[in-house]
Amino acid sequence: MTGGSVAGGSVSDWSADEMMTVAAARALVGHTACFVGIGLPSTAANLARRLHNPDLTLIYESGTIGAKPSVPPLSIGDGELAETADAVVSVPEIFNYWLQPGRIDVGFLSAAQLDRFGNINTTVVGPDYRRPKVRLPGAGGAPEIAASCGEVFVVVRHSPRTFVDRVDFVTSVGFGDGPGHREQLGLRGRGPVLVITDLGVLQPDPDRCELALTALHPGIELETVRSATGWDLAVADGLRVSEPPTAEELRVLRDLTPTQSTGDSRWAT
């Protein structure tokens, strides 16, 4: 999918994925430490460090704290992460000493399925865990990232297959069944406060905890987002239109990903 017509009728030449990555990178302004998942979150976090937030500490579950890769890594354990990190610690240490006590202010995740309460499924598609329609990679670090980071940003492409009314399997808890559920479970972080897609931005309604559309990316019709969402999507008052990517944002992003797409094929079937 290419471009979107912007105000004045001119047609831009950025892709929907680029808009998504740029929007996700902007969301990291003002944050200190980010626990980064692989794929789309990693590209966005690296863009943020280049552009908006040079002091952002990138933490990967492989145990690299303060990694400064020159290109987004293909895996969360690429050698350049260790070579450029402030510190490399063991995997038990990264989860027990750094993530678990709530030292990391933002967790950056993707999803194979995401529901109206921001719950994430990366385990199985289909109602029967033992006989899944699609076996996905599983939990990885996500359940504890979603529980223990100060807040969670989700970056994921918008489609009815992904944006479902209820996830088939709760791998990582968003707002659970709705208001009060995180508190009842004793989860310390605020949960998924921001969902950035290739079509727009969703944020939880403060009272109902249900994800509502708060911004459309330039050139995207509301109806397009509604038909790509598997529940009756609420639209927040004062729906915004995202600022299009600047030339500088596009230059740095394309410089960062010269040979690879910004895409995340880890859920490819």
Partner: protein, 273 residues
């Protein structure tokens, strides 16, 4: 003291049908050559354990070595699914595969408890997810001091743990550096252990941040140059990303996979790419 031996002899001596076996490595230093030697020796009915089963576990599962998998993330990092793992889970080919599924935090703590000689570990984890409904080895536990309800997971004590390291001296002291994942815990938790190394050296020069596993904590050490390929060994060779990308097509189809297995595992010498 660790026995210095060959990969084939070590696998024959240490890995038995029905064992629980952990080949650990977190993207870096994955003991791929050892996994392929297990395939060559036709070991069966293994319960494979690993936080991040990737393509060497895909190969072992597709080759019929495993009847169970204990894991927290199974995929081809940055590429997509593990097709042999999925075929086993979705269609029971070449055999059914029991899954025991955790989160990374849970698995890391299970190894740490095993290495510590404790029966279980405590963490803040899994709460509100669907994992405890399907994984029996996750339980609630009340803190005896504060009354807070936390999560317990049992220790992992594999029959055999296998890791790959950069080098060892001729007494069998092992040195590894870079991303060292959960390898120390995996070795110390296991009843028997095998370390494959890039090379033997006369003296292990100290390196900042390097981990040393003393020879008396390891069962066997074998030199297997490029034994972590297509993953990488920091200071020796880079990750072969093309291999990971090509594995997607090779592993999608059963016949293509078995043809690959015949040529590259059964038809090759130890450690060959």
């Amino acid at each position: 003291m660790a026995e210095l031996t060959t990969l084939a002899e070590a696998v024959a001596a240490l890995v038995r049908d029905g064992d629980m076996v952990a080949l650990e490595g977190f993207t870096h230093l994955i003991p791929v050559a050892a996994g392929q030697e297990i395939i060559r020796q036709g070991v069966r009915d293994l319960t494979l354990v690993r936080m991040t089963p990737d393509i060497v576990y895909d190969q072992m599962i597709g080759a019929g070595c495993a009847s169970g998998l204990v894991f927290s993330w199974g995929g081809n990092p940055g590429v997509g699914s593990l097709h042999r793992l999925r075929d086993a889970v979705e269609h029971e080919w070449p055999a059914p595969l029991r899954l025991e599924e955790h989160s990374h935090a849970g698995m890391a703590n299970r190894y740490a408890a095993g290495a510590s000689g404790l029966p279980f570990a405590v963490l803040r984890g899994y709460v509100g997810t669907d994992l405890p409904r399907h994984t029996a080895n996750i339980a609630a536990i009340t803190c005896p001091f504060t009354g807070e309800v936390l999560t317990a997971v049992p220790a992992l004590n594999p029959d055999v743990s296998i890791i790959h390291a950069q080098r060892a001296d001729r007494r069998g002291n092992v040195q590894l550096w870079g991303i060292t994942g959960v390898q120390k815990e995996a070795v110390l938790a296991a009843r028997r252990s095998l370390v494959t190394v890039e090379e033997f050296v006369d003296t292990l020069e100290p390196r900042p941040g390097a981990m040393v596993l003393p020879t008396w904590a390891v069962t066997a050490v074998a030199a297997v140059p490029r034994g972590a390929h297509p993953s990488y060994a920091q200071g020796y060779y880079e990750r072969d990303n093309t291999y990971y990308q090509e594995w997607d097509a090779i592993s999608r189809d059963r016949d293509t996979f078995t043809g690959w297995l015949d040529r590259h595992v059964f038809g090759s010498a130890v450690g060959a790419p």
